[in-house]
């Protein structure tokens, strides 16, 4: 894999990472009332910058663009190295959108406002950092740094069992990432011993030519870290716990951005670094992916807690990303990336919807809900679109990625694709089950409750503003995926260059 670099004339990416941190620092010394506007403006600026990058990015040839590199710790061969390719860029952009949405939504937060926004701003910087870092140590720094604010967000602003959930989230992911770290260090040492190069740069580690046995070991070490983050079955149990307890905006970020880090890791590192091991583990990954899709779909339908249901659905969707990635062909890879992007929007929207319902009805239990569609038609419509996008309705974002991933997988393993395709049924099952129970089906509730709900207000401007971008994106991706596929095409090809040649 030979890579070209287009150096940044202006350190745009560094600035993008720094903006939220600086804003958080400033916020620490400001009064509470400034927290909301400052954060929203900050995320808006980040959004504008990343959108600008999205348009300036040249997707015709594969090159790392907006590339910056500075020596950092020469003793250990660590550099500061950032840049984007289409995969990074889409993820960064997804991050920017998700945070913008989360910040807009969070204007209804009343408890410990300043700390809340500081935590989110730092989280934003860390999330962007993960996707743009090409130096493994920096990647790891951002990867881990994001645990701290997320831990606080779940633990401080969460619900009753927040401490258990936050701790579980933290320790579980920490567990995975330490093995990831060992794996990376192992490769780094191998490189030093075999080639005499002391570097943690991605581009130096990518062409190591490891012996097969070592590939397997390192693949497993890295995969453990990524699999927990994704989360793949059977490492998924932290996710429902964390989602259930996290505040709405926290869930949004968790689902939209944090889960992507795991799949991003698989795409970015596992495949190019360990081509042989990746091929070797394809059956395992397919099995896990299919289990994730079907088993967690069953888990989802067994839930009565809205957020837990959506959380399980996330695991299920991530199964598509897994199988798409390990199909090791262009369609699968494009599908995986598009699914990542799409899931970012749909799951964010669904969690917003859950939060919205809680705002109005003060319950997350679908047994307490029913018939809300009648009182809140606008919300019902947006929720319906999100649910359908999540269930993979053609024309909305979810389908594009799933179809491509399925097609890519089908070319490799028919059985996997057929079983994964079953998600069309079971996925629609739990999504509509949720919608059905919460929004329709009014008659099972006591009438006095319904009477109380007559006064429920439909979405206000702020809520609409946070919801709309997501819904628009679902349509944009779903109705015109061509643009996105062209954007990521060269990147997918580059990532798969060791598998499909060229």
């Amino acid at each position: 894999m030979t890579v070209e670099f287009i150096n940044a004339t202006f350190p745009l990416i560094t600035i993008t990472i720094l903006i939220p941190i600086v804003a958080a620092g400033i916020l620490f010394f400001m009064s509470e009332k400034h927290a909301k506007p400052v954060s929203i403006i900050t995320s808006l600026v980040v959004f504008v910058i990343t959108t600008y990058m999205l348009f300036v990015y040249d997707y015709n040839t594969y090159a790392i663009q907006f590339y910056e590199k500075y020596t950092w710790i020469p003793f250990l061969g660590i550099s500061y190295e950032v840049g984007v390719d289409a995969l990074s860029l889409t993820m960064v952009w997804l991050t920017a959108v998700s945070f913008l949405v989360a910040f807009i939504w969070s204007t209804n937060i009343e408890k410990r406002i300043k700390e809340y926004f500081i935590a989110f701003l730092i989280l934003e910087a860390a999330c962007i950092g993960v996707f743009v870092s090409w130096d493994m140590v920096w990647f790891y720094i951002f990867w881990e740094a994001m645990l701290i604010p997320m831990f606080l967000i779940i633990g401080v602003w969460g619900y009753a069992e927040r401490i258990y959930a936050a701790t579980k989230f933290f320790i579980y992911t920490f567990f995975g990432s330490l093995f990831l770290l060992i794996g990376v260090i192992g490769m780094y040492i191998y490189q030093y011993v075999e080639k005499g190069v002391l570097s943690t740069s991605y581009f130096d580690l990518v062409n190591l030519g490891l012996p097969f046995k070592l590939e397997i070991i390192f693949f497993l070490l890295l995969a453990l870290g990524f699999a927990i983050k994704v989360p793949m079955w059977p490492f998924h149990t932290w996710l429902p716990a964390a989602h259930v307890q996290a505040p709405t905006a926290g869930s949004v970020i968790l689902a939209a951005v944090l889960l992507k880090m795991g799949t991003y890791g698989f795409v970015r590192f596992s495949l190019p670094w360990f081509p042989e091991a990746s091929k070797y583990f394809v059956p395992v990954m397919f099995t896990l992916g299919v289990i994730a899709i079907i088993y967690t779909a069953m888990m989802a339908i067994a839930q009565t807690h809205i957020k837990r249901l959506i959380a399980y659905s996330s695991v299920s969707h991530m199964g598509f990303v897994t199988i798409g990635t390990f199909a090791l062909n262009m369609e699968g890879m494009n599908g995986a990336i598009i699914t990542m992007l799409s899931h970012g929007f749909t799951s964010a929207a669904l969690f917003l919807a859950a939060g919205f319902i809680y705002e109005r009805v003060h319950s997350y239990d679908i047994k307490d809900l029913g018939g809300l569609a009648r009182f809140m038609p606008v919300f019902a419509t947006l929720f319906m679109i999100s649910a359908m996008a999540s269930a993979g309705l053609p024309g909305l974002s979810g389908f594009v990625g799933e179809f491509l991933a399925l097609y890519g997988t089908f070319k490799v393993s028919v059985l996997t694709a057929v079983l994964a395709g079953l998600s069309l049924v079971v996925g629609a099952g739990y999504t509509l089950w949720l919608y059905h129970k919460a929004m329709f089906k009014e008659s099972e509730l006591p009438p006095e409750k319904i009477e109380k709900w007559e006064k429920l207000k439909d979405m206000n401007t702020v809520e609409l503003l946070s919801f709309l971008p997501l819904v628009i994106m679902m349509f944009v991706i779903g109705l015109y995926p061509k643009w996105w596929i062209e954007l990521i095409q060269t990147t997918s090809a580059a990532i798969l260059s060791k598998f499909i040649g060229g």
């Binding site: 069953m298 389908f399 089908f410 395709g421 069309l424 009014e442």
Partner: protein
């Protein structure tokens, strides 16, 4: 012919306008009018297109824009305008127009009036995307889209549990079919590298037989779901929870017909595989018969018609399985007309008697609603296959053709026809004739429906009467799409392959001309038998329900097991509920508890607890007593020193 893009997008525009401004600005009459205008524009456009094709022949393929590139192949949003799609589009738009007009009357004073018309427009848009598509992906888009729209429409009264449940059920059941369909589409893409029909057809000779069979069967799986054929039919009767125009729309012309249309559209694929045709035939025949038996004993006015739909769709599939694609499509067309008529008439009845659905509680409605009764009667006669109504000309060729090809199939189709005549007239007699069982309170309000509803009834009734005589026109018209010898877009090789596949229909020699056909069937024994059976069915219904010579309950008691089997819909619903609904849910709950909570979380939380226990255990060594400390250290020294002395 670029104007064809108007056809799908005019309802879409209507949908968007109503969706955005419906509640705020348009409200009651205006939303409906916009919807009607939207669909009417499509209807006009499609009729123009239809006539153009009818006059010039040939086909027209328009690519609107690329949706998604997959490798070298680009999936495009496009229009394929040939006789088949033209016919289907016309049927959809024209029937929809009447249903829309009817709905403006039916939905009067409904609070969610704009929403209803928005959904209707969306539905039509999706249906048109389906019919106009030139590739499987766009077809699937429309396919799923009508699923969504029907979900929304069936669940229109979503505060009612039954409606919400029915919508949910319909969507999920459809999704099972869609799963198979999508798999088929993916297999197609993987095999042929394209999803465009025309390319697929021309590449057919290159593919292996079993691959084509698999593709055909998987795609047919989708059709089974969408057209509510046996196995995935359970949603259809429950879908009657939607407002009646919806039932008419879904059941008459559009959604359920999509499966039939799809099989006809992909005729070369199906024709290339015997097994596929046999499966289509089998499923169609079984559905035709079983649905008819189920319809015999229902009491819900709309459900009876629903079962009849399922049954009639079975006839269409059976026709396709027999290789009689043109006959299948013709039956689809005529069925669309008279089924829409029946449903709308039923809707008119329901408006009149305030939504009492049970036919046992109706009676003598003809007195109060003469137009409705008459139009319903026409529809019923058409359905029963009495000449000269449309149903006769479209259904009888199927039964007679079946006789030429397979006696077993013919037997079930023939028996089904008898049952059809019986149950539809059972409905007619119980509702419109017979004794006066109406609630007196209701009776004082019964009235004939307003013109917005009766006019469509009359128009459709006219259609049901005369449509049959256009048999020859349709046959000729459809030839460039369904007769391999005439199909312009097929390569020679494919033509040969397809003709070989359709050879089973070769010894069926039925007259295309309506009059000749009528004469022929009145002279041939098979034709006479079929006609007599239909009349016999009507007669039986008359004897039992009008004259009351035979007690229906007595028959039920005598054949109790069979009655129960029919009444409980062959226990399909029961078994499905027990396994796929309740069983799946319970199994999921148990799996959640055991798999996630006990095993996985047990390990995860267990390791945390284990650490705590280890901590507590190790704590005990720090007893605070110097003696204990030194003793432990001494042990440490002993072991530590020992290890290294041994290593030296």
């Amino acid at each position: 012919m670029e104007y064809l893009w108007i056809i799908p997008f005019s309802p879409l525009v209507a949908f968007i306008i109503i969706g955005l401004f419906g509640y705020k600005f348009l409200r009651e009459p205006l939303s409906g009018i916009i919807a009607v205008v939207g669909v009417a524009i499509s209807a006009v456009a499609s009729i123009i297109g239809f006539l153009q094709v009818a006059s010039t022949g040939g086909y027209y393929n328009l690519k609107l824009f690329t949706w998604m590139p997959i490798g070298d192949y680009e999936i495009a949003v496009s229009i394929l305008w040939d006789p088949l799609s033209a016919l289907m589009t016309c049927v959809v738009t024209v029937i929809s127009t009447f249903i829309f007009i009817f709905a403006t009357g039916y939905m009067k004073n409904e609070p969610s009036y704009p929403r209803f018309f928005a959904y209707l427009s969306l539905f039509v848009f999706m249906m048109l995307m389906l019919t106009l598509s030139d590739n499987l992906m766009q077809l699937f888009f429309g396919w799923e889209g009508v699923g969504l729209a029907s979900y929304l429409l069936i669940g229109f009264y979503h505060h009612k549990s039954s409606a919400a449940d029915a919508a949910f059920e319909s969507f999920i059941t459809n999704r099972v079919g869609d799963w198979l369909f999508l798999t088929g589409a993916i297999l197609t893409l993987a095999t042929f590298g394209t999803l465009d029909y025309l390319d697929i057809f021309n590449k057919l000779p290159e593919a292996e037989y079993w691959v084509i069979t698999a593709i055909a069967l998987l795609l047919f799986g989708g059709a089974v779901g969408k057209s509510a054929q046996l196995g995935l039919h359970i949603w259809l009767p429950n879908a009657m929870e939607g407002p009646t125009p919806v039932s008419a729309l879904i059941h008459a012309a559009t959604m359920v017909a999509a499966g039939v249309y799809m099989v006809a559209r992909l005729m070369p694929i199906f024709a290339s595989s015997d097994i596929a045709l046999d499966v289509v035939l089998f499923v169609g025949t079984a559905s035709a018969f079983i649905a008819a038996t189920m319809g015999l004993v229902q009491n819900d006015i709309k459900r009876i018609i629903a079962y009849s739909t399922m049954s009639q769709l079975g006839y269409m599939f059976a026709a396709e399985g027999l290789g009689l694609f043109k006959e299948g499509m013709f039956h689809l067309t005529s069925h669309a007309v008279f089924k829409a008529l029946l449903f709308l008439a039923a809707g008119s009845v329901l408006i009149g008697i305030h939504h009492i659905l049970n036919i046992q509680r109706m009676g003598q409605l003809r007195k109060y609603m003469p137009i409705t009764a008459l139009t319903f009667l026409i529809g019923a006669l058409a359905l029963a296959g009495i000449p000269p109504f449309a149903g006769f000309f479209s259904k009888d060729p199927i039964i007679e053709g079946a006789y030429e090809i397979s006696k077993a199939v013919w037997f079930f189709l023939w028996a089904g026809a008898g049952l059809t005549a019986f149950y539809i007239f059972r409905l007619y007699f119980l509702a419109f004739e017979d004794g006066d069982r109406l609630d007196p309170h209701v009776k004082s309000h019964v009235h004939e429906s307003p013109p917005s509803m009766t006019v469509p009834l009359i128009v459709l009734a006219t259609g049901a009467v005369f449509l049959g005589f256009f048999k020859e026109f349709f046959s000729n018209f459809l030839r460039p799409s369904l007769d391999p010898a005439y199909m312009p877009f097929l390569s020679e090789e494919t033509k040969r392959l397809v003709e070989e596949g359709l050879s089973r229909a070769h010894h069926v020699h039925l007259a295309d001309d309506a009059i000749h056909f009528l004469i022929h069937s009145l002279t041939s024994p098979v034709g006479i038998l079929a006609l007599l059976t239909a009349i016999g069915g009507i007669f039986a219904a008359w004897v039992i329900y009008q004259l009351r010579k035979i007690d229906a309950r007595e028959i039920a008691r005598t054949f109790k097991p069979i009655y129960l089997l029919f009444y409980n819909r062959w226990y399909f619903d029961f078994v499905y509920y027990a396994t796929f609904v309740y069983g799946y849910y319970k199994f999921s709950r148990i799996l959640w508890f055991i798999g996630d909570k006990v095993i996985i979380d047990g390990i995860v939380d267990g390791s945390a607890k284990g650490s705590m226990v280890a901590g507590d255990g190790l704590r005990l060594f720090h007893s605070g007593k110097i003696g204990a400390y030194i003793t432990q250290m001494a042990i440490g020294i002993l072991i530590f020193l020992g290890i290294f002395l041994l290593l030296v």
